[in-house]
Symmetry: C2
């Protein structure tokens, strides 16, 4: 490559990188707004989250296309190619996070537009905060190519899982005590499941980041395997 082509190539890679972060920021905002809409019964905000889905989808398609173009024209190798592979995988997870946020907004709309008798008092904010902070860390790990932050995200996945299980137990108790709450409890259960899935996606992204940086696919090693890899690398 000439200096000029290399410079262009770098610009293109940086452009892709910053668009991934933009998409990440967009779906992060979607989750936060969906939870706000749920907590305050804000139906307009529900619609807004649902409509943002179009932007998320368009950004996903554009980014995929940009990746294909850069592979076809620049024939990247080694760490550049790993970066692009990471982007290709990451945007799928980001788009699915957007889908989960949309689902939360739809459930929130259903919960608040029906005039049902009783709302089980279930606090989902804490779980959502963990999931959002995992996503933020995963994007940060991607932006700074930081494996230790990525590992931290994988570690925290247990927290959202535990939150989900505890929510489920609480909801079962509510349902048994007062069967009139069953329909609403199920809506809340699905919201809780969506939050758990957002954590899973943040974990996936973090595992791609480790692959990008170390060239090792750590997706199915579990937390211990991942920590071993990181320790071996830094020693």
């Amino acid at each position: 490559m000439t200096d000029h082509t290399m410079k262009q190539f770098d610009t293109e890679l940086n452009d892709i990188r910053s668009k991934v972060l933009q998409l990440g920021g967009l779906v992060e905002r979607q989750i936060i707004q969906a939870m706000e809409a749920l907590n305050h019964g804000d139906l307009l905000l529900c619609e807004q989250v649902i409509n943002t889905d179009h932007d998320v989808n368009r950004m996903e398609v554009d980014l995929d296309e940009a990746c294909v173009h850069i592979i076809a024209r620049r024939q990247p190798a080694a760490s550049d190619l790993r970066m692009i592979m990471t982007v290709i995988k990451t945007i799928t997870d980001l788009e699915r996070i957007g889908d989960e946020a949309k689902k939360i907004a739809k459930q929130a709309r259903a919960l608040h537009s029906n005039d049902m008798a009783y709302v089980p008092r279930i606090e989902l904010r804490h779980a959502a905060d963990i999931a959002v902070s995992m996503l933020r860390q995963a994007l940060d790990a991607f932006a700074r190519a930081d494996c230790s932050v990525a590992t931290e995200v994988v570690r925290r996945d247990k927290e959202v899982d535990a939150e989900f299980k505890s929510t489920m137990r609480q909801l079962i108790t509510f349902m048994i005590e007062d069967p009139r709450t069953i329909s609403r409890a199920l809506e809340l259960l699905f919201i809780s499941k969506s939050i758990e899935r957002i954590g899973d996606h943040a974990k996936n992204i973090s595992e791609y980041v480790v692959y990008m940086e170390m060239g090792r696919d750590v997706r199915h090693l579990g937390l211990e395997g991942l920590e071993r890899e990181i320790a071996a690398k830094s020693s």
Copy 2:
């Protein structure tokens, strides 16, 4: 490329293609076995499905690696590159189908090892049959690069969604009538959700196949948009 390199390249592409179909066959079998384990309370079969997850994960990692190698060494363009992009996306969905099958097996194990009072009589076989047949069609569409079969899969996604909604309604009735069934009903609800997700993944794969064949990203066009694209292409 020389004749020799081109021949090698074709062999490599074919190898990747057949490994995708192998992975697809493996997760298809996982779903079928998980449902069989559920219906017959076969705990050994549950374990078998859960353990197959390792093979699925290994095949996913190997295939991803093969794709990166072929991009780095062969610098594929146009339809070859689209095929590889399709594979990269498809294997993620296949691996997640495997995860859903594993979840079904785990729920089946929980349902049959506990000695709970009452099982709601819910028939999930029909929904599972639809999901399996969608997966089979999606793999077939990939193998034969057949957009009309792929479109058929996208069309059938509504069927699994309808099955899920009907199951949910039935389960709610059971739960209200007899709150002792609530825990079990929730296990069945999650199994039903897994089946619905398998249908979603089969739909995703089919949309990638259309991209591979037509070079058009149809993921977010909806069924009508997809049908329009196919009609425009064939006219």
